[in-house]
């Protein structure tokens, strides 16, 4: 791949909106998308009529219980009669939707694009939405074993702890930090003031994973407005520019991989860093929202993103570096652990948070240091894909 620094149309984010993240929202998928879209458009000083393209993303159709669900929920974004398609890379979808939005605008095909992500998990499957994940495995080799998603993350967490010499206590600090950060987030579902002790004493699920190590099941939607440079200048004085995008999909055979390090996140980040001209992410990224559906994943992803040396993310967390007032604030939104995890919408929430942080509009969540460059990242499929976006003001 060549890295074209002369992309003709620079792409800006000019608005963001989110619904509440909750376990059983009464709104339909279409209504959730409408609420998020309306908020994003209001921030951008636009209306649905101004939009020429809708790019959407959502994780498995099985959650919403609608086949071809992009065709269904996108109506809430006013997609009828406009360009619309849905992208899908499992849990990585939320950050990937604005990546696809970037090339639709950068190519010149779209001028004003509404980027939406939606997930309605709570009404799926019985007895628990986790049951949807029974059907993500290789039908011949893995499905007969009837694995559960938490089992394989438990394997990965265990491997990471073993390889890096990280303790359960070190990892629990991430849950403590993120749930506390979420106390300042008005859409949050799982904000709480908890201690390391609370995490360790919460219900064990699959060793070493306890209940408070995991983000909750959620419903929610998010939206961004992405526009070309000439349009951005007409609507705002503070556009936030998309400076780098990256994504990489690793092998389906997760059992053949070294689970202690997410090489696919590293590959995706390198693509985005090259595009954004970032050579030293630890110094050049001011604030980041790495994907944290489990507390150990924040550490794992920080290392994959090069925001911490390998096996050292826990030390940075213990030293307070990743706090909102630290040198490298990580997940100031409260992350998935605190805000909730409506899969695709959760990823987009991270991009929205970086957008607000860079605009200085994050309110009580605003990090203390001045921020110019931010990163959001998500992860998904069979522990297999990394998606990264870098924004700059």
């Amino acid at each position: 791949m060549r890295f074209n620094i002369y992309v003709k149309n620079r792409v800006a984010v000019v608005g963001a909106g989110l619904t509440l993240f909750r376990r059983r929202l009464l709104e339909t998928p279409q209504e959730m998308v409408w609420i998020a879209s309306k908020k994003a458009l209001e921030q951008a000083n636009m209306d649905f009529r101004d939009i020429d393209c809708v790019i959407s993303g959502s994780a498995p159709d099985t959650f919403d219980g609608v086949h071809m669900k992009g065709e269904y929920y996108s109506e809430g974004a006013g997609s009828y009669g406009k360009l619309h398609f849905r992208v899908f890379v499992g849990g990585g979808t939320g950050v990937f939707v604005p990546v696809a939005g970037w090339w639709m605008v950068a190519s010149g095909l779209c001028k004003k694009a509404l980027i939406v992500a939606e997930e309605k998990m709570s009404s799926a499957a019985d007895p628990h939405p986790q049951a949807v994940f029974r059907h993500i495995w290789d039908p011949l080799i893995e499905k007969p074993l009837n694995p559960n998603l938490i089992w394989i993350f438990a394997l990965e967490m265990h491997r990471y702890m073993h390889k890096c010499g990280v303790s359960k206590e070190d990892i629990a600090l991430v849950a403590v930090k993120n749930k506390a950060n979420a106390l300042d987030n008005p859409i949050a579902q799982a904000a709480a003031k908890i201690t390391v002790e609370d995490v360790l004493k919460s219900e064990p699920l699959v060793y070493p994973v306890n209940r408070l190590d995991i983000s909750p099941v959620s419903d929610g939607a998010g939206a961004l407005v992405m526009v070309s440079e000439d349009v951005a200048r007409r609507y705002t004085d503070t556009p936030i520019w998309v400076e780098g995008v990256g994504f990489a999909l690793d092998t389906t055979s997760w059992t053949n991989r070294e689970l202690a390090f997410p090489v696919y996140v590293k590959t995706a980040a390198e693509m985005a860093y090259r595009m954004a001209g970032i050579e030293n992410p630890m110094k050049q990224i001011d604030v980041a929202e790495p994907y944290d559906p489990f507390d150990y994943k924040e550490l794992h992803h920080m290392e994959g993103l090069g925001l911490a040396p390998r096996c050292k993310a826990a030390e940075l967390t213990k030293g307070g570096v990743t706090q909102r007032d630290g040198d490298l604030p990580i997940n100031p939104s409260g992350g998935l652990l605190g805000v909730g995890n409506p899969i695709a919408a959760a990823g987009l929430m991270k991009v929205a948070e970086i957008f607000w942080q860079l605009r200085g509009e994050a309110g009580k969540r605003q990090v203390r240091k001045p921020v110019y460059t931010g990163l959001a990242q998500a992860w998904g499929d069979l522990m297999q894909i990394g998606t990264v976006i870098i924004l700059r003001r």
Binding site: M1, R2, N4, Y6, V7, K8, V54, A59, P60, D61, T62, V66, H67, M68, G70, E71, Y72, S79, Y80, G81, K82, L83, H84, F85, R86, V87, F88, V89, G90, W103, M104, A106, S107, G108, L109, V132, F133, R134, H135, I136, D138, P139, G246, F247, A248, L249, D250, T251, T252, S253, Y264, T267, A268, M271, M275, G380, D381, L382, Q384, I385
Partner: protein, 382 residues
């Protein structure tokens, strides 16, 4: 802006059932042929990104994107799924290359409906859960039947006209080795068929087929290095239909009109009937091509044009000259790329019609199956 070309294509299947190959093996075979056709490219070295067009429920896998990289040679490279018809993969590849950031992109789409045990339930799951599913329609094609009837009544199209189109299209498919369902059929035998759902009988609905198709798409710079016969994507657009069908005038295909207008505008086409040589139109239901001809302003009097054989070899503009989906079958989301494949072969001179000059510009159309009408249209040229 960079021009974008298709430089290689390959396929496997177009028959059903296909118990000898898994869907991944089918994709692997198609990819091998496409890479060879594109000048023996090495996907590990030469390809910047991989796109798959598929839907989870068709696959029976909750996150089908997981199973995409190996068989394409795309492990640890940029790869993603578009949950839609495979022409939408081309739309994304086109946009990606035009940014200048990507040079070579591989597109994959497949369908293996022979392994779906619960097709009716899956189709029902595509309908609005609040407004349509509670009706509990007993036939999965009921919306298409309502649409067909609305269109036929508005345009004064009888079963005889539809039959005339069907028997000609099935006959044209006899020239296409992938068209397993092509056959000669009399108008009488068509009219004698029982309705599946009025006004559609068995021959009006494309049978399902298993297939995988892979395409290699490249920037102009790379295309010219790798082939002497690039097939250019001149323009492409997709327009969304609505899942709340009560909103729509079902007698007119608004999504096709909008998508068509966008590509005609981008390619500076004022009179599509004169300026386009051939059409590859979605024919998963027999009435759809007729609706699309109307929506694209290619025919103002469908009945008369069908009876005057305007769309046959000696006519003004070729329509599905090697048979459409009625002959080839319906490979689900791979339908759009199947239409691209046959257009690619025509533009490269690999498929020729005796007595007709090779087309220079072909319009491709595909919409979601069975509903809503979300439509993608592309213009290809050589």
């Amino acid at each position: 802006m960079n021009r974008v070309a298709i430089i290689g294509m390959g396929y496997s299947g177009f028959y059903a059932p296909s118990p000898d190959l898994s869907f991944r093996e089918m994709i692997f075979k198609a990819a091998q042929k496409a890479y060879e056709d594109a000048g023996n490219i090495n996907p590990r070295r030469d390809v910047d990104a991989f796109i798959s067009c598929q839907e989870d429920f068709w696959e029976g896998i909750a996150i089908a994107n997981e199973f995409m990289p190996e068989q394409l040679g795309g492990v640890l490279k940029p790869g993603f799924t578009v949950s839609g018809d495979s022409l939408q993969c081309f739309l994304n590849a086109y946009a990606m290359i035009r940014t200048g950031q990507f040079s070579v992109i591989v597109i994959e789409s497949h369908g293996k409906p022979s392994e779906i045990n619960t097709l009716d339930s899956i189709v029902m799951f595509s309908y609005d859960p609040l407004y349509i599913r509670p009706i509990d329609p007993k036939n999965i094609y009921f919306l298409n039947a309502i649409e067909a009837r609305a269109f036929m009544e508005k345009e004064g199209i009888s079963r005889e006209v539809l039959g005339h189109y069907v028997i000609n299209s099935l006959k044209r498919g006899l020239k296409n080795p992938r068209a397993s369902y092509s056959r000669t059929k009399s108008l009488k035998s068509y009219l004698d068929e029982e309705f599946v759902v009025e006004p559609l009988s068995e021959s009006d609905i494309a049978p399902l087929t298993d297939a995988a198709v892979v395409a290699v798409v490249a920037s102009e710079e790379i295309a010219k290095k790798l082939t002497d016969t690039p097939i250019w994507i001149d323009s492409i657009w997709t327009t969304s239909g609505t899942s709340t069908v009560a909103y729509e005038d079902l007698s007119f295909d608004y999504a096709a009109r909008e998508a068509g207008n966008k590509v005609f505008e981008a390619s500076n086409i004022r009179n599509p009937r004169r300026e386009i040589d051939a059409l590859e139109i979605d024919e998963r239901f027999s009435y759809i091509p007729l609706m699309v001809l109307k929506a694209l302003n290619i025919s103002s009097n469908i009945k008369e044009d069908i009876h005057s054989n305007i769309f046959e070899v000696d006519g003004e503009i070729l329509l599905n000259p090697f048979g459409g989906a009625l002959s080839e079958g319906n490979p689900l989301e791979a339908h759009g790329i199947a239409r691209v494949l046959i257009a690619y072969e025509q533009l490269k001179g690999l498929k020729r019609i005796k007595g007709s000059k090779d087309p220079e510009r072909i319009l491709i159309h595909s919409r979601r199956w069975p509903f809503p009408r979300t439509t993608t249209i592309a213009l290809l040229s050589r």
